[in-house]
């Protein structure tokens, strides 16, 4: 039951976040919120990148190297191809091969 309670909380918070602006700013969005709306998405994605890498131990090269190589591959693929799907698939396959076969 605990799982379903936690899922309910995640769903509830997400729904509130999605609906709140429609309820609060029915008329006009204040400039400060407009500004945050413009800059926060990029900052948050940056935060999430670090969040994903938080448990990587950079003291251990067999753990750090596959991550570093795969992250750089994703960046490179995205710069060249500009297709998120290709970058995500490519990077994940590269990471899986690195951890399963090489390291």
């Amino acid at each position: 039951m605990r799982e379903y309670l936690l899922v309910f909380i995640m769903a509830f918070v997400t729904i509130i976040l999605r609906f709140l602006p429609f309820i609060v700013f029915r008329k006009k969005v204040p400039p400060y919120i407009q500004y945050l709306g413009k800059v926060l998405p990029q900052a948050i994605i940056g935060m999430l990148v670090i969040y994903c890498l938080k448990d990587v131990s950079f003291a251990s090269s067999s753990q750090a190297l596959p991550v570093v190589i795969a992250v750089l591959s994703v960046v490179l693929l995205q710069v060249i191809k500009r297709n998120s799907l290709v970058s995500i698939l490519g990077g994940t396959v590269i990471y899986m091969v690195l951890v399963q076969v090489i390291f």
Binding site: L6, V7, F22, L40, C52, V74, Q78, S84, T92, M96
Partner: protein, 228 residues
Amino acid sequence: MKKRTVSEAFYKSLPVLAGYVVLGIGFGILMQKAGYGVLLTAAMSIFIFAGSLQYVGVSLLSGGAGIITTALTSLMVNARHLFYSISMTERYRDSGKYKPYLIFALTDETYSLLCDGKIPEGCDKNLFRFLVSLFNQCYWVTGSIIGCLLGSVLPFSTAGIEFSMTALFVASFTEQFITTRDHIPAITGLVSTLLCLLAFGSENFLIPAMVLITIVLTIVRGKEEGEK
């Protein structure tokens, strides 16, 4: 007109199809590995429908997180949805009976498909937006169920599949970095979070990071205003 709207919406949603199925399978596999069944997996994809939170949610569920941690993490990870909604308030204003679902289903990917506001010729715009959102969620739910059911019988080892979440964010980060001229927000996000990770440790750094990011960006705005 209805038929045309359906086919145009399906076409519009295609770039998300493979991505959602793959990421959904990745999520389903994580759920299955953590010992959870199809019911809980499907419930998450139907009622939460937010990829990054669901990935993080697997570790919340299996790591024994409490109610407050779960609520705060959801708030932090999904705070960006506030801003997707803010920028769609105008467009979704008169969408009638479709409005609640359109708002509910506003994910990163759906937002990126619909935020340009273009509607194909001869289509009902509200039905079109509704169907694009609905198709996307169908891909996501289908992928997560497949992952949960077949995770263990896939004919290859899935070790490392969890990297798809990192890859998703790294790809979005890179894409935003290429398409925006002002890199201060992106760098603020990276550096503030890194500093907070070093200062507070890997368990408690997200909330301080959010606060620090907001403070830094508010100061930056004050400076820009001052320069004008």
